[in-house]
């Protein structure tokens, strides 16, 4: 039985934590949140230099080729630090899509730049509010030209390369677009978590290459989302853990009625519940990490479980952390809301939990039928 990270992986994690506690304090998140920059460029450069972006990208394509477990521990620390950098969009989504679906040429062309952080990638799927469905996509890929409009593109304001879901013929294909091409428009969007800036992207016959076979992109997209769900779950677990630590610190330093507020059962039990939800999420995430790292057939089920569990844990932890902080928590100048916003951002990033619960049960049915 070995459901834990190795000593080397734990060392990498400690190192990441140390680096981020210095380079990505809450103030770094706030600076992006309150500013107009799409992300923290300096932190992004450092993250690239440390090799974290290329952690799970093979050496042949400019990565370190360490593996997904290593990327998981880094994700947890990025989540804990609510780091204002586009790792999830660029690595978990764009690089993964290229790695899985790209031709050798495409991999050679794009992965080294993504691994080095020279370009930010993203995945553009939603075209409106509601759950995207293949038959309702209006963006079209025709003859290597992309036309349509995508909203809420994560980290879209700073991205240079987009993986885009588009109709082609009767099916859905995945297009790869250099966002500096002619015919690409970009508009900043306001959102619940401005510490990573999404954007609306418009394509008017923009040049695009196809990633993977024509018309069969939807299932592949789901596979990419599943893989990303595991990594985002680690970010969420890290975020939840950070909220618990903040609430605990406050409960151990704030007095009311002559006692530490952490001595009141209402607070103690609240924090115990935060701990419980977070530990359950962590355990589910570990299992999903195993499935991701071994490409196990259990991956879709494990990823959905991890995402549902971690989305709930971070949501609960962020809200009850604010509640523990009392009036302090609801001021703009205190840091609590940065976590509340990130919790919402990550919860929605790959689609809301409702859809993942549906996937989960579908996987259970499939397993049962087998």
């Amino acid at each position: 039985m070995n459901l834990d990270f190795s000593d080397d992986q734990k060392m990498l994690k400690d190192q990441a934590r140390k680096v981020l506690s210095e380079k990505s304090p809450p103030g770094a998140n706030r600076a992006v949140l309150e500013g107009t920059a799409p992300y923290d460029a300096k932190l992004w450069a450092q993250v690239g230099e440390l090799g974290w972006l290329g952690c799970a990208i093979p050496e042949a394509y400019g990565g370190l080729g360490l593996g997904y477990l290593e990327l998981c521990v880094i994700a947890e620390e990025l989540g804990r630090a609510i780091a204002p950098v586009p790792v999830s969009s660029s690595i978990y989504l764009a690089a993964e899509a290229i790695l899985r679906l790209g031709t050798e040429e495409q991999k050679q062309a794009h992965l080294p730049r993504l691994a080095a952080g020279e370009v930010v990638g993203t995945l553009a799927l939603a075209e409106g509010v509601g759950v995207p469905r293949p038959e309702r996509l209006e963006t079209r890929l025709e003859g290597g030209r992309l036309t349509g409009r995508k909203i809420a593109v994560p980290d879209g304001l700073g991205a240079g390369l987009a993986v885009v879901a588009a109709r082609e013929g009767q099916g859905v294909s995945i297009a790869l677009v250099d966002l500096s091409e002619k015919g690409v428009g970009r508009a900043a969007e306001r959102s619940i978590d401005p510490s990573r800036k999404s954007a609306t992207l418009t394509f008017e016959g923009a040049r695009a290459e196809r990633l993977g076979p024509a018309g069969e992109g939807w299932a592949e997209l789901q596979a990419v989302l599943s893989r990303a769900a595991v990594l985002v779950a680690f970010e969420q677990v890290g975020g939840a853990d950070a909220c618990l630590a903040i609430a605990r610190d406050y409960a151990l330093s704030r007095y009311a009625f002559g006692r530490l507020i952490g001595s009141f059962q209402a607070i103690k039990h609240k924090l115990a519940d935060m701990y419980t939800h977070t530990e359950l999420a962590r355990s589910n995430a570990y299992y999903a990490a195993w499935a991701l790292s071994t490409d196990a057939p259990e991956l879709p089920l494990a990823a959905a479980s991890a995402r549902v569990s971690a989305s709930h844990a971070f949501d609960y932890a962020a809200k009850e952390m604010l509640q523990t902080l009392g009036g302090m928590g609801i001021t703009w100048e205190a840091d609590g809301h940065l976590y509340l916003r990130r919790a919402a951002g990550l919860r929605l990033l790959l689609g809301a939990p409702r859809g993942w619960k549906e996937r989960l049960v579908r996987e259970l049915e499939r397993r049962n039928a087998a």
Binding site: L125, A126, G128, V129, G130, V131, P132, R133, R136, I151, A152, E189, R190, S191, I192, D193, S198, Y250, S253, R254, Y255, A256, F257, G258, R259, L260, F264, A266, I267, D315, K319, L322, Q323, G326, G327, M328, G329, I330, T331, W332, E333, G336, H337, L340, A344, G345, R347, L348, L349, L350, G351, A352, P353, R354, G355, E358
Partner: protein, 410 residues
């Protein structure tokens, strides 16, 4: 059972409705943009004029005795008037705290001269009051305030900081609780004052909240001088004053609850598509709507039961204390699950994209404050347990210890 007015109530309602129809439209406001000083100043001017008109018409303080500019009416008449007034977007906000809490305190604890000086101008909208109570280290534990007052001759010198003071920046007068003797146990060394908000040494700074509003303030006191004649109650006996004031606050807050709106979610669910089809056809969405609906309706009819008691001339029971502890967490859930329906695009706050002009995103950011203000979820459960169910208070370790010997943190 019925939902009708009694004949007397119906007559009063007709009269108020008629008066409002004639008067209110002149004062209707688009609401303050509180980030914009000029607009706020205009709003305050409009609010003062509206209050003057209400005083003129006899609706400024319906339940107060006539000698204080009131109408000597029954509580149910105040409710009826408020129901009718709510049809117009009139600027009543700036006077709620003054007329709801501060001036009643003046009436109870002030001398004849103070009553004469302050009640009239407040009722007529000439002066706005604020309540200087909460402090950074005294939220749920209100008696834990640290703002110091020291007597020098006929004056008191005040130093310290208040927080969460609504409307401090446009108020003329404030009611202030201070600690005059830190060597006494916490409830024994408090002293109450009122003061001119333009007094030298008073500094007001707005607090920006996470949902963007800034209607609260921090108020700093640096050697502010207050004449001893502006003291309420005896020195060190301020807790008694506080208790009457808190009683008024509780009434005011339970009257001013935000109603969570499951209708918004219902409407959104009718418009949006999930993977499995229209959201409103999804059984989980439907059950969620049903659960929220029965809670919202339960609160509504709980209010109706209280109004029934008022209409019968009885005092409403303690049922009202459950309102916010139900509605605030529900608003929070509404916010989250409303965003969830938007799925990957659910976090957008652009009003032309986010359904209902981003109402759910706003709820997500506003609800945490609602769970805190006017009594946290935890304090409200304590209140229900103690005052309604008669369960024992929490064990108190701070009752007989000198205030300045209590442990302090942040």
């Amino acid at each position: 059972m019925n939902f009708d007015d009694t004949p007397e109530e119906a007559a009063f309602r007709a009269e108020a409705r008629d008066w409002l129809a004639r008067t209110a439209p002149k004062f209707v406001t688009p609401g303050p943009d509180e980030a914009d000083d000029a607009r706020e100043a205009a709003y305050i001017r409009r609010a003062k004029a509206w209050q003057a008109a209400k005083a003129e018409g006899g609706y400024a303080a319906i339940t107060w005795p006539k000698e204080f500019g009131g109408r000597g009416g029954r509580p149910i008449e105040q409710v009826i008037y408020s129901q009718e007034e709510r049809r117009y977007s009139v600027p009543s906000g700036p006077f709620q705290i003054g007329l709801g809490m501060c001036v009643p305190t003046v009436m109870t604890w002030g001398d004849d001269a103070a009553r004469k000086r302050f009640v009239g101008p407040a009722v007529r909208g000439e002066e706005i009051w604020c309540q200087l109570f909460s402090e950074p280290a005294a939220g749920s534990d209100l008696a834990g305030i640290r703002t110091r007052s020291e007597k020098k001759g006929d004056e008191w010198i005040v130093n310290g900081q208040k927080v969460w003071t609504s409307g401090a920046h446009y108020s003329d007068w404030g009611i202030l609780v201070t600690r005059s003797d830190p060597s006494q146990p916490k409830h024994k060394g408090l002293t109450f004052f009122y003061l001119d908000m333009k007094s030298p040494g008073v500094e007001v700074r707005p607090i920006q909240q996470i949902w963007g509003g800034a209607n609260f303030n921090e108020v700093y006191f640096n050697d502010v001088r207050i004449p001893d004649s502006q003291r309420f109650g005896a020195p060190g006996e301020g807790w008694k004053v506080a208790l009457t004031m808190l009683m008024h606050e509780r009434l005011a807050i339970s009257a001013g609850q935000v109603t969570t709106d499951v209708k918004d979610f219902f409407e959104l669910a009718g418009e949006i598509e999930l993977e499995t089809g229209p959201a409103l056809e999804n059984a989980a969405v439907r059950e969620q709507i049903a659960d929220w609906y029965v809670r919202s309706e339960g609160l509504k009819f709980t209010t109706y039961r209280a109004l029934t008691a008022l209409s019968r001339g009885e005092t409403p029971g303690p049922e009202g204390s459950i309102g916010k502890v139900v509605s605030a967490p529900q608003l929070q859930a509404l916010g989250t699950l409303g965003m969830d329906l938007g799925d990957m695009a659910g976090g957008l706050t652009e009003e032309d994209v986010a359904p209902l002009k981003a109402a759910f995103q706003r709820a997500y950011l506003f609800a945490p404050g609602l769970r805190i203000a006017g009594g946290t979820d935890e304090i409200l459960r304590n209140i229900v347990a103690e005052r309604v169910l008669g369960l024992p208070p929490d064990i108190r370790v701070d009752k007989s210890v000198a205030f300045n010997e209590l442990p302090v943190g942040r």
